[in-house]
Assembly symmetry: D2
């Protein structure tokens, strides 16, 4: 049993998988006998050799992937400056092999069997770093590792535009891995693990979850919460949506978030209000799940609660206040609104309501280069929703007042209009809105 | 609630998903108002329109994928001739868009930002059918649908070589989806679902499972069975391996398969014998899992049973008899062997043993174009195993006698030699064998 | 860490639990240094001491229960004669403590607080062996151990009537533990563990399961199978029922068991036929589950398949042939029936049908001491079913011909009649049968 | 399908189970057409009839249990005064059937077969209410219903001593159902359902859990938490224990509860400190789980963390301050201690330490009627632990100061002494303490 000692599998996949796993939650890990945390110039050469070995595939694919795990721990052991250098190395030196590509292009031009030549050309167009990064699929925690690595990258991109090709490659790789077909939709309730629920608290980005009792209210019997998960990151939500089951379209988010309000009967509700959608993984920016999430949740809700007939959002208008500030002829309004707590003065609020609603309608319906001005509007319109209603004083939280002077919008997903709405918006840049809103905008 | 009636989601994903699901097990389903089972010429145009609509992405990606489900049911509703025409259409008309590719090639040549131009070139190199088939990832049972479609294709390829590009595209697409990192390794025991176990009986391809009691013996306490699964095909094994836990390297598969033999103590065993590895999905031919399976199982076994020190196979030599028949100077032997039941005559068997072992050693060690002559040998050698022992009368079943005159081989996975063995074989075409075998071959 | 060595917990619960577990499936285990397998006279004294120690509760209840585990392994290590002596010892020496009981009776007679005195009297009425056996509840596998011990006992009772008090105590103890409220109802399908399904094959007692494909047919999409389980014996069914979903009341069990017949659409069925109910644990004889099983399954079926409106059995008449043999005036019939394969002679069968049906009706409706003559009839009638139909040549298997000359009965559970039927039968000894059957009996 | 309408099963088990379930969380439910919430005199007769029907077993046992469910909803629909009357009725009118008992006593005296007569006597000693309450085992949520009913009862017992027999019967019934052998031990971590974790917050009775982050700290990687559950109340912990994994015996609970302290390495710990044990169900008062919980957790910890060698508690002395106030010759001390925040004055604390530790040692070692004075001491001593150490300023929380002037005790479970310690204490009333503590007490 002499081989029970140091073996290639011990040295690599198993042990390093463990290290990656334990390291994932920590700021960084010092690894002795390897590159130093700041990755000084001398160590870059050593790192380069390590990467080259990974790419060489010496010893077979199992060995190669084990070495990828080792490279992952190297990265996790680096300080911020070291990580920046690591990523820069990947971005600058491990692109497409130009020589191989040129040969493939020449071969393609001359080829009789264009199909085979195209396949070889496709291979030649794959950069070395993509080949390297793909090996992480089989490293324990390797998928989450790449997602987090891309989140690191996002923080550096502005100052280091030379990292863009790496970011682009990573996005493309992750978009393939996170194909909507491979995600799991799960309903999350109050009986979900606390370790998962605390992530909802951390990731909620529309209406901050203030406490565990706030969260519990959002998971009550008249609410639903759904998230997408990837099989290789089963404890990490990718995106989640919060839904309230009500009668009639809701216009005031404070009422929905009021912990003291009693739960209503979900089985009697006729309307599902999607009042919060949050992306959870910064490293998946640009990989889109929202449209699928909404439509899969609509399906699930209709199966579970057949009385539901109306599906709508209660959404913020994050860009409205900024847009308004630049609009002409709104000086009077802006002065009023600039006062803190204007919304608590009945007279002021009454005076502002009509002009503000009109402006909001104009803002929502307007497009620039075929796109709605508001990013949330753009998201729902391109998914096939229509503008249904604008709600005065729908969100008087500090954030709601700051972003949109307390206004909120309902976008409605009418199932038999979704395709047409989508086409109208995407193909012709036309915003579909209910008559009343359209009229308001013109008024 | 007027929208509660027929909706786009109803019409498509949900209903069709169900249809695909229920249809999957059946020979075919007649779909009224659609193309006819034989896909006569008139209907090809209709099918072409259906495919074009899928590719147009009208109505957004959710709608597009729903239409893919519809196309799937169309396919499942076809008779064999119809299916062949369907596949031919895909193979011949939905390749790379040549115009777009030419433009991308020109653009690439002229581009300053080669990275961005390469990305566009990569996109242009993707055939339309790949874009179409990729949509099946999110169709319920869509992954299994494509795997089975490729199995259909395999049966047609010989007579219809024009289908090769489609097969190639499918293999590449599936290879990405079935990346080893996304598979689940599961141990299968006698407490596994009967509906899964009956698949092992069906898929076993090395030593036929004769009955449920034969299967139960192979899942006894001194045995292990592992399989890889894909998260989107959780009830379908992709590949499985059967392992016997014994003392010393086993050389006789009949003993392992003897249902009457009592189970030994797994925790006292020093050797794990991999005596059967079967691929389960014909549609995944060319997508390789075996190497990873063996090495992941070795890891798992070592964790679970720390006394295990030796990992080896007990393998058939499927090509030996055919090779022998063409070797010169073996006439006498062949005459003996041609008699049925020669192995039951002690004298004949004794006379044959030495020359046959020598010939087998030569067969195993020989290479042609850098590859071992035997496909099983090639598999294990390229995974880093070495030839450990040749076993006289190791498999006297009809198949064992027919393929290899009853001979079997042990390939041994010595953990600290795997990388070197792999390199020697792959890089230099050198077969690593234990001294005794090498000597035998020379003798 | 000196206490890491031999500890009381090691010595007992853990190790012995393991031993009981591994021993459970084996015929017997030799335990050295303890009593000998045959339990010779000398060893009885040793065993008596062991039992007394268990009862003494020395060292607290955890210790006491650990010693019970030890006693369990002693029992499992005995040969049949040893076991018989062990049980005899329990039956004869560990009954009620007469002295304590007399004192409690006297105290009760004199007591002011009758409630407290009654409680003490109840305690005094509990035999020592019951106190001992109850400790097995917390021994791993202890519940199954007692069930199997009572099965051993059942085999000895006839020759050793002195064991009856022990059997009676065990039955009472187990009846409390297996209270219907603590059982789990589980539906069993083809995706159940093979290790569970093979138990159905072993335990089926009405219509033998011939093979795994026979079993698969009984678990097909137009069938249902349910079983009760106890939380402490999760792998052991206690009783199971097989149900066919059909249209109209089925009268021929061969049709139901025909593997070649295609599955019908369960969701279109209007009738559920309970065609087999088997008790699985001989050690639970006299503890009744069948009534609850049928009614819980009816509930579950109605929820799952709302189109089901009729619930009936297709039952054997196990006592009919024996009864008929003793009836006067049936000599002619009996002569016919005595011939093998008479049922294959159309003429004979036609001649016999009318008189046999009439006799069967008389047999079913007759009572003796307020009970139906047939034990299966008694079971269903006391559950509130009525006699619905008698089926000529309903079971022409050898067993069906032997027991009831091929006749079968349907008992129907009409939900709004169950209470009244039950009362009529139990309180007044009146068999409820549909008019046609009643008329037939009189004819 | 005429029977699809109102059926006995509909009318009862199913619907009422639902009602009990939904009612369980509510204060009370008005049931129309039944007894009024206050249970006025007129309605008592109606209730009596309802109870009598339950006891009559008319229609078979399934029906009878269904009626028990109905009775349960009646109870849940009552106001507090109505519930008190309901319970009084059970306590006063549904005791033992005196006539039947007298007959059984007479029969016993005269019987030849004493065993059979004893069985009948046992049956006659069972009160009608026990027969009634036992039916709840099979009512959905029926077990929890009875546990909660006994909690209601506990609140009334002081003012209504006539309820004692009912309480006694219930305790005995529940003690049988909650036999330790039928409970599940589960480890609870931060990945447990939030709906379960909030119950820990509610039920913790030793060191209040202040917040979710306090809770998270108690479930960190260097902690363990275990609870017992009953299979029929799977979401309700019965008792739970919190354990800290440390090096050396911990003496200061504030350190353990400090959220800011970093987690230590559980796998390196040599000592497990049980620092909080809380019973969760008031209705199970008098049914004991603690001894088993500690010993099963010790077993589990030793298996999981083989380096653990010491198992001890860090316990409060809830009766110390009250005892001290009555001791003679402690006037000076008491004056000091009466000052708030004396423990923050180093000089005072130093002056008090020696005399207080001596008094605590005397308090712990003293017994009255063979029992330790302190109830926590009594619990651990009767489980076989010994007094290991007294900790000065071990708990300076308000509760800790109020109950025991900040003192805490370690009780140690030395595995090879447990039996002997238990015997010494239980049989001879002797408190086992480590030498230093014994000396301290004498000093």
């Amino acid at each position: 049993m002499t081989e029970a000692g140091a073996t290639f599998l011990d040295r690599t996949v198993d042990r390093l998988g463990r290290m990656i796993r334990s390291a994932a939650g920590e700021a960084r890990v010092r690894i002795t006998g390897q590159v130093r945390p700041e990755l000084p110039e001398d160590d870059v050469a050593r790192l380069r050799r390590q990467i080259d070995t990974c790419l060489s595939a010496r010893g077979g694919e199992v060995s190669a992937r084990a070495r990828a795990a080792e490279l992952g721990t190297t990265y996790l052991g680096l300080a911020p400056t070291g990580r920046a250098r690591f990523l820069q190395l990947l971005a600058e030196e491990y692109g497409i092999d130009q020589e191989r590509l040129d040969a493939a292009l020449t071969a393609y031009a001359a080829a009789d069997d264009k199909h085979a030549a195209a396949a070889r050309l496709r291979t030649a167009l794959e950069s070395d770093r993509v080949r390297l990064l793909r090996q992480f699929s089989s490293v324990p925690q390797g998928v989450k590792f790449l997602v987090d690595l891309r989140a690191d990258l996002a923080a550096m991109l502005k100052r280091q535009p030379e990292l863009a090709p790496l970011d682009h490659d990573l996005r493309e790789l992750l978009a393939g891995w996170f194909d909507i077909g491979f995600l799991d939709l799960r309903r999350i309730g109050w009986d979900a693990p606390a370790s998962l629920l605390e992530k909802l608290i951390a990731y909620e980005s529309v209406h901050k979850i203030e406490s565990w009792s706030d969260l519990k209210n959002r998971l009550d019997s008249d609410r639903r919460c759904y998230a997408f998960f990837h099989p290789r990151m089963p404890d990490e939500p990718l995106i989640f949506v919060e839904v309230a089951l009500v009668n009639g379209i809701a216009g005031d988010v404070q009422i929905l978030l009021d912990e003291a309000a009693p739960a209503s009967d979900a089985h009697a509700a006729d309307t599902a209000i999607f009042y919060s959608i949050s992306n959870c993984q910064r490293g998946l920016a640009g990989v889109s799940f929202g449209d699928f999430l909404i439509k899969r949740v609509v399906e699930d809700l209709r199966k579970d609660l057949p009385k539901l007939g109306t599906f709508a959002t209660l959404s913020p208008m994050p860009g409205f206040a900024a847009w308004l500030a630049k609009e002409e002829g709104t000086v009077d309004l802006v002065a009023d609104i600039a006062r803190s707590n204007w919304h608590l003065e009945p007279e002021t609020a009454a005076r502002l309501e009509a002009p503000m609603l009109r402006l909001a309608a104009r803002y929502l319906i307007a497009t620039r280069n075929g796109k709605a001005l508001d990013r949330v509007a753009h998201f729902h319109l391109s998914n096939g929703a229509r503008v249904e209603r604008i709600n005065w004083l729908g969100d008087t939280s500090p954030a709601g007042l700051r972003q949109a002077h307390g206004l909120m919008v309902n976008y409605r997903y009418k199932l038999d209009e979704i395709e047409a709405n989508h086409e109208a918006y995407v193909a012709e840049g036309q915003v579909r809105a209910i008559g009343a809103v359209a009229k308001l905008a013109k008024g």
